[in-house]
């Protein structure tokens, strides 16, 4: 559009200071954390001795951090699968224009407005081994003795205690993928589906050959959003389970918080946070690149 130079310059007077502040608080601070992670700083004495990758080396040889990484991996995987499969399922139910659709939508989505702390406190009560659903099964006459988040059993590196967190997190975020898929489904022109019906395609055929392929970009976006939430997970675990026995429900975010602010090992905490950042950057940077590349002129 028509845009005289001196006017654009006036715009910079607002954008540049705001961007500068943000850049200091994001990129400046990340570099600062990086520097701390290379030091032996304990947060109190001004001992910023450079010790190179020592903190990182120590982390990767610690039982706790390795467990954390596996927990993150499995939590992310199951959280994503449940939210995407379940979210599509719910959106498809609503797509069929059920009566009271608005009510169903409201019910599926309401957990999303809650804080992870609320969700955590609530599900800790619902899934507590003696009180929760176990007691419900007892009432119904079944023997149930699953320890939920106190379970120390595992299958390979997958700790069963994670199931509790996956349930709680999925309860909160299923509605999110449902909303995304529903928006996507409603964007598909009716004619495409009608003509497929005229050609004799059944419901499953339409889902498989039309709906699912057209939802691919949305599925991808949902994976990114869910992935970056689960890679950072902190509040839910903090409120619901803590790190659990033998770190069965520990995550890097929790480890970082405890190490830094409860244990005063600032340098080690910084190293954990840098690893978390790298994990997320691996997912987000390609995504942002593909989103904004198309807009370059």
């Amino acid at each position: 559009m028509y845009c005289p130079k001196q006017e654009t310059r006036k715009g910079l007077l607002v954008v540049l200071p705001l961007s500068a502040v943000l850049f200091v608080f994001v990129y400046g601070f990340i570099l600062w954390s990086l520097k701390v992670s290379f030091s032996a700083w304990d947060g109190i004495l001004p001992n910023m001795n450079f010790i190179g990758l020592e903190n990182y080396r120590r982390l990767f040889s610690s039982q706790r951090f390795v467990t954390d990484l596996f927990n993150t991996l499995y939590f992310t995987l199951f959280f994503m699968v449940v939210c995407i499969v379940g979210g599509f399922f719910l959106s498809y139910l609503l797509y069929s224009r059920l009566r009271a659709e608005a009510l169903f939508r409201t019910i599926y989505l309401f957990p999303l407005s809650l804080s992870f702390v609320v969700t955590g406190v609530l599900w800790r009560w619902v899934l507590s081994p003696e009180v929760g659903v176990n007691a419900l099964f007892h009432m119904l006459g079944f023997k149930a003795s699953f320890g939920w988040f106190t379970s120390t059993q595992s299958f390979g590196k997958f700790n069963y205690a994670l199931i509790s967190l996956i349930i709680a997190a999925s309860w909160q975020y299923l509605g999110y993928t449902m909303a995304m898929f529903l928006a996507g489904l409603r964007g598909i022109p009716d004619q495409i589906i009608e003509s497929a019906e005229l050609d004799g395609a059944g419901e499953f055929r339409i889902i498989r050959s039309i709906l699912l392929p057209m939802l691919k970009p949305i599925t991808f976006s949902a994976m990114i959003v869910l992935g970056h939430i689960s890679l950072k997970i902190f509040d839910l675990a903090y409120a619901m389970t803590g790190k659990g026995p033998a770190f069965v429900t520990d995550f890097p975010g929790l480890f970082m918080f405890e190490t830094t602010f409860r244990g005063n090992h600032y340098a080690e905490g910084a190293a954990i946070s840098i690893i978390m950042l790298l994990l997320i950057a691996l997912v987000i940077i390609p995504y942002l690149y593909s989103t904004f590349r198309g807009e370059e002129t």
Binding site: Y2, L93, S115
Partner: protein
């Protein structure tokens, strides 16, 4: 595609799922309405025999101050997020300058970083500025880290407005800020509501910044206070559940009454240009 049996099956499944979703809410309400004497481990699922306000009275007396803190936090953060987000979003959407896309992408990346990676320098800096441990420090933190998402939401909204609208203003002799004040500002209401709701809920629900920056119980927002209430050793489940409900009510109300905008914000949060 819409045969009768399949419709019946779909209703059945939709209702079943709705019950599963509401089930924890039943537990929350049921437990919070029980008197302490009725909160027995084996009877968590049984409906309250005597409705009691005990849990609510006690948790409210403990959380009242923190509830107020959360409002004192959310109001200024929302105001400045809207102000800065709309100014920023406007310039980024309509006034291309050198590196504007690069700068914008770098700003958006700030939305995704794990805040742990800036936490240590943040604490150090707030400490130096004398803001650590104060609500003011938490307010400034949320305004700054809310900038990416509020800029993105306003930018996406402004990008859809036709350029002719601005050009007409320019021809009338309005400058970049004249156009913003007279033309863009008055039609910004839809985006403003979305940003307001988004920032209100995410700042209200935040825990990480709050637990790190506010140490004194008297200045902690509701999420931290709730966690402390629940973390204590005495198992007064009715009080805890009532506390959780109190902490959840403001955002639940926002969601119930402004759900349309809430969903719009949600979808915008997944970076759709």
């Amino acid at each position: 595609m819409r045969s009768r049996t399949s419709v019946v099956v779909k209703y059945f499944l939709a209702i079943l799922c709705a019950l599963l979703f509401l089930f924890p809410l039943y537990v929350l309400l049921n437990t919070s309405l029980k008197p302490f004497s009725e909160v027995r481990i084996s009877e968590m699922w049984i409906p309250a025999q005597h409705i009691s306000s005990e849990g609510f009275v006690e948790s409210f007396s403990k959380l009242r101050g923190n509830l107020l803190n959360s409002f004192l936090l959310v109001i200024p953060v929302s105001f400045f997020s809207i102000l800065f987000g709309s100014l920023n979003g406007y310039v980024f959407s309509k006034w291309k300058f050198r590196f504007s896309n690069l700068i914008f992408a770098l700003i958006i990346f700030g939305m995704f970083i794990p805040y742990q990676s800036i936490l240590i320098p943040l604490v150090q800096s707030l400490n130096k500025m004398g803001l650590y441990g104060h609500l003011k420090g938490l307010i400034i933190t949320h305004i700054i880290y809310g900038l990416p998402i509020s800029t993105l939401m306003f930018r996406n909204y402004y990008a859809k407005l036709p350029d002719e609208l601005l050009e007409a203003g320019m021809l009338d002799g309005l400058g970049i800020w004249g156009v913003f004040r007279r033309i863009i500002g008055p039609i910004s209401a839809p985006a403003t509501v979305v940003v307001l709701i988004w920032q209100f809920t995410s700042v209200w629900n935040d825990f990480l910044f709050a637990v790190v920056i506010t140490q004194k119980p008297s200045i902690q927002p509701i999420t931290v206070a709730l966690q402390n209430l629940a973390g204590s050793q005495v198992i007064e489940w009715n009080v805890q559940m009532a506390g959780a409900l109190i902490a959840a009510i403001p955002t639940l109300l926002v969601y119930i009454f402004l759900g349309k905008y809430f969903i719009r914000g949600l979808l915008a949060g997944s970076v759709k240009g």
